[in-house]
């Protein structure tokens, strides 16, 4: 369970990205986060895996306050969360295979299992044949799919996807959405920031709409849109 209590975030340069955000997301939920460019979607998401900590308010992940975690404990928090970053954040010097395997290596998974699992996930996103390439040799959409594969490879309890279909054609997008539906059906929470009206409107789920750092709408089975 994820709880944000009156969370505000002001970045060092004085920009206020979140402003009194109160949100609760239960285990197993599927949530879209929508809003205009710069609304605070990415900042909202970053609170959960502690890339940023709130300037005010608190974030609880499964009852634990994230800001109070010791440095040593942060990796364990992150291992339970699969994040698809808006800018992918792939390791540029490592191959596609190694990028995905990395998420399993850090939890010291057995090497044989790693191999099996990585290849299966790469197959799922349609990139098994490019396992040996490095990110610079991939198209934008292919890189995005590597990021997706890395996020889901260790079967995390929570998947956070920041604009995961921005570089994908509609068909591939639907395949990816199907994957998210599947892992959600198996009990994984999915939080997805998106600008895709089509996806939000066709796959009706809970929609959190943000604007100027505030949650302006929070509807179950909602539609794309944020202007109140």
């Amino acid at each position: 369970m994820i709880e944000l209590k009156k969370v505000s975030k002001v970045y060092k340069n004085g920009v206020g990205a979140l402003n009194g955000v109160d949100v609760t997301i239960n285990q197993g939920d599927f949530v879209y986060v929508v809003g205009p460019s710069g609304a605070g979607k990415t900042s909202f998401i970053k609170m959960m895996y502690r890339e940023e900590t709130p300037s005010e308010g608190q974030v609880f992940m499964n009852g634990v306050e994230v800001a109070s975690l010791k440095k040593k404990e942060v990796p364990y928090l992150r291992r339970d969360i699969g994040v698809i970053f808006q800018d992918f954040k792939l390791l540029q010097r490592k191959s596609v295979y190694e990028n995905v395997a990395f998420a399993l290596e850090v939890i010291e998974e057995n090497p044989r299992k790693i191999r099996r699992r990585v290849l299966s996930v790469l197959d799922q996103v349609g990139l098994k044949h490019k396992a040996r390439f490095i990110p610079a040799q991939l198209s934008g959409g292919e890189q995005q799919r590597v990021a997706i594969a890395r996020a889901i490879v260790n079967n995390p309890k929570l998947v956070i996807a920041d604009e995961p279909t921005g570089n994908l054609d509609p068909e591939t997008s639907w395949d990816i959405m199907q994957t998210f539906e599947d892992i959600n059906a198996s009990g994984t929470t999915v939080i997805m920031a998106t600008h895709s009206k089509d996806i939000v409107n066709q796959m009706r789920k809970r929609v959190i709409a943000m604007e100027n750092g505030r949650v302006v709408r929070d509807e179950h089975r909602g539609e794309y849109g944020y202007e109140v």
Binding site: E51, R79, L91, P111, R150
Partner: protein
Amino acid sequence: MKFSTARRHIREGSKNIIRNSWMTVASVGAVTTTLILVGIFLTLILNLNQVAENIEEDVEMTVYAELTAGEEELNELEQNLSELQNIRSLDFSSKEEELEKLVEDMGDTGEQWGSVFEDSNPLNDAFYIKANQATQYKSLSEQIQGMDYVDEVSYSQTTVENLLSFNQYARYIGIGFISALLLTAIFLISNTIKMTIIARQEEIGIMKLVGAKNSFIRWPFFVEGALMGVLGSIIPIGIVIGGYYYLYENFNDKINMAFVELLPFNPFALQISLILLGIGVFIGIWGSVMSVRKFLNV
């Protein structure tokens, strides 16, 4: 750490060496350059040290017994001398032996004098003493002068003292130089490694975001640092050993000054290789440790 994880770290570290070929060349280059300097200086200083020791070892002190001292008194004196501390050797040379030596030293004219003095030998019986360390002659001579039946104690005081202070200075300067050079080397190399890591700052950040513990990130860098140290010490070892071999083979015989003799090639080459290798590995690992730490707290 699991065995498979350890293997992974070693594999990663080695791969990084190859992948960042450019950086590796730069870092290894820095290690190489500085180790060459260190190697040459070390060779120089160890040899100079040896020379200094040779010289010090050759210093000796002569104790002249009183002309009137008979066999008994001489025995007593010898007894007393042999009870002194810090003495490495004690040799007796009777006045007859002294005369023989003198005659020999004087050459042709000596022979004439030899026959003149054969019956009324004007020389003293003498004891030759070597101290454990050259610094001890002064206090030894003071002690001995207080003994019975001692006519005169002679060791070229100023020579020994000059020599000692010269050696001392040479050593200080040598040690100072080597230390400065090593510090420079460590600084430069950790500098270099730091930069390879700055260049990978982003990479480290991503790893942390994906849930890697600091130690997990650190290990491959250690391996990489150690490997770079090893790679960086190969050429210096080659140069120093090769150069020393050449010198040793070609010049050791020709240097005809007393005391000056190169350290024997055989153990020396191995020793210096191990020292350079050790320094290289140490610097490599240390540089990595220092610099990774800087960026793990990001």
